[in-house]
């Protein structure tokens, strides 16, 4: 097991009170496998990812409970100094918006070399050679010249490739991709996804792929975990969940994705809004928006019920 997250709780102090952004999340990722983490904005996907790196916003964010086991080592117990040796080298992350992910005042080479230097040591030779290598890995044309370019001289897609190169420069085992294509033009989204998949296969990466788009999940992921209001409500192999989603929220999410083959007059949507995280309803958090809701749903949070070998859903209506 490459990554094993157990019962992770992360809280954020905001001006409205403490928010349980990640509230008892568990999942695992094998080497070479891709787990999709799906949910609406504000469901806690990004917070989960940042928790793994121990980079929650300071000083508001805090991991209050749980374990993050990377190759069996618990990251939650590590010191900041130890974490720095893990970030970039063993876990890396690609952020959502390439326009702002790169520092505008340094050239690209500088920013890649910097990532390499942290892990290979100040005196390591041939850092620029390796940086060129890193760019070649993400299929950037004329990498040698690109190293001297500044971010504003590149297109969005190119920048996101550079961010990928930085993330992969130190050959990590686990890559977190946080909606890496959301900010890209539709035409280059697919290109980028294919690139990620290709690199993953070559490097044997484990990947945590965060998205809100089930179309991308189908293309990229082996397994998927659906998050709602800080908790995972359903998880399982992509194939199985696509065939038969068991949680009403998963079903609703999938139904709201437009499909080419079906002729629909109006896309179904989920009524209401996700609950405010500082005022969560007592029972199932999806209850206020759920069409199958009954009394018990409003009172008690449902336990995760196993359906088949690795498929589980947290809903009272799911019979094992």
């Amino acid at each position: 097991m490459l990554l094993d997250v157990k019962d992770l709780h992360a809280h954020l102090r905001t001006r409205w009170g403490t928010v349980k952004a990640v509230d008892g999340v568990s999942f695992s990722i094998e080497a070479g496998e891709t787990l999709g983490l799906v949910g609406e904005s504000g469901s806690g996907k990004t917070m989960t990812a940042l928790s793994l790196l121990r980079l929650l916003p300071e000083p508001a964010g805090r991991i209050v409970n749980g374990q993050v086991l990377l190759d069996g080592e618990d990251l939650v117990a590590k010191s900041e100094r130890e974490m720095r040796r893990i970030r970039g080298r063993r876990i890396s992350m690609i952020l959502q918006d390439p326009q702002t992910s790169l520092n505008p005042v340094f050239n690209v080479g500088n920013q890649i070399v910097e990532a390499l230097r942290v892990h290979l040591g100040r005196r390591a030779n041939g850092l620029w050679k390796r940086a060129e290598e890193a760019l070649r890995r993400v299929k950037v044309a004329a990498p040698q010249e690109r190293l001297r370019s500044f971010p504003h001289q590149m297109s969005g897609g190119m920048k996101q490739r550079v961010v990928g190169a930085i993330a992969l420069a130190s050959e990590p085992k686990l890559l977190i991709a946080d909606e890496p294509t959301t900010a890209l033009d539709v035409t280059i989204q697919l290109q980028y996804l294919m690139l990620l998949k290709d690199v993953q296969a070559r490097m044997g990466l484990g990947m945590l792929f965060i998205t809100h788009d089930f179309g991308i999940v189908a293309r990229m992921c082996d397994r998927v975990a659906v998050m709602y209001a800080g908790r995972i409500v359903e998880s399982g192999p992509v194939r199985e969940i696509f065939k038969a989603p068991r949680h009403p929220y998963t079903a609703a999410l999938m139904a709201s994705v437009p499909r080419m083959e079906a002729r629909v007059h109006r896309l179904p949507s989920i009524d209401g809004q996700p609950p405010a995280l500082h005022r969560l309803p007592g029972g199932c958090r999806f209850a206020p928006r759920c069409s199958y809701v009954d009394e018990r749903c409003r009172l008690e949070y449902p336990p995760a019920v196993a359906i088949g070998r690795s498929h589980a859903a947290a809903c009272w209506k799911v019979a094992p």
């Binding site: 790196l53 980079l55 970030r87 970039g88 992910s101 790169l102 005042v105 910097e114 892990h119």
Partner: protein, 305 residues
């Protein structure tokens, strides 16, 4: 890049011309140009004589042409008080200001940038609060009064430091504090808010993801970006500094061009005032041009466009 600087250069020339015309026009619009240019005790004949000599009986555009021509050749009239060419008086005093202003500017930068940075990084802590309080007080304190209070405490009551005029290093301490104080307040707030913005940016997050230490993240990734707005607003700060120098030099009887400006006002020495203003305008515009070049160096987005 070169075009950018060239364009700025021409803009500066235009500003200078506008200032010259304003100064010229103000002396004439009021209809008593001769009075402004004459000592108060001048007689009637002097007046007639001056009108002729300065061509004030000529049409306006001719006078303007003559004024500008004179200005170009370095002739901005005679100071009434010093009975010397005004330009000459200015350049006699300039070195004294050039020893004071750069020291004050440097102190302000050395104090306010680290303090603003620390206030942002340790937001909400005691450092942030103290520097915030200093900034609020610094902005509300008129610098002429600060100077007087400093003189009262350190020269008169404690007797530690000289209160006026130039001299050894000790003479620089109080004027430097006075001149730097309000710059520190303004710069510190600016650095703090721009560092806060940068700290929240995605590239800082990526830098942390790479595994960089807090020190590298702050001093490499934040500082340079946070300095851009400071450099952008440097022109404004420099303008404040020139203003502050007038007041500070007046309070400390410092024989520089700031004090000269004050003297020109107090003695209603219009030729001197107009020379001081045009020459100061030239210096300010020159400095701003230099800052634009520095700005292009700091921010590659400007350098390569």
């Amino acid at each position: 890049m070169q075009r950018f600087i060239l364009r700025r250069f021409f803009q500066s020339l235009v500003v200078l011309l506008v200032v010259a015309v304003v100064v010229f026009a103000l002396a004439r619009v009021t209809g008593n140009a001769a009075d402004l240019l004459l000592p108060e005790d001048a007689g009637r004949e002097d007046r007639e004589h001056l009108l002729k000599a300065l061509g004030l009986d000529r049409p306006m555009h001719e006078q303007l042409a003559r004024f500008l021509k004179g200005a170009l050749s370095g002739d901005l009239g005679m100071s009434i008080r010093y009975r010397k060419p005004a330009v000459e008086v200015f350049f006699e005093r300039l070195p004294n200001t050039l020893t004071l202003v750069p020291i004050a500017l440097l102190s302000a930068i050395v104090i306010s940038i680290p303090l603003g940075l620390l206030a942002a990084v340790y937001r909400g802590t005691i450092i942030d609060r103290v520097s915030g309080a200093i900034a609020v007080l610094g902005i509300a304190t008129p610098s002429f009064w600060l100077g007087i209070v400093l003189i009262y405490i350190f020269s008169i009551q404690l007797g530690w430091l000289p209160s006026a005029r130039m001299g050894g290093p000790a003479h620089y301490i109080l004027p430097t504090i006075t001149l730097a104080a309000f710059l520190v307040a303004g710069m510190m707030r600016l650095v703090r808010s721009s560092v806060l913005e940068v700290l929240n940016s995605e590239f800082v997050k990526l830098a942390r993801i790479k595994g960089l230490s807090q020190t590298v993240v702050i001093w490499k990734h934040c500082l340079r970006n946070a300095l851009i707005p400071v450099v952008t607003l440097f022109g404004v700060f420099f303008a404040l500094l020139v203003t502050g120098a007038i007041v500070t030099e007046t309070v400390f009887a410092w024989p520089g061009v700031g004090r000269l400006t004050y003297e020109a006002v107090i003695f209603r020495d219009y030729p001197l005032l107009q020379a001081v203003i045009l020459l100061k305008a030239m210096i300010v515009l020159g400095v701003n041009l230099a800052v634009d070049i520095l700005y292009a160096y700091l921010d590659p987005r400007v350098r390569y466009s």
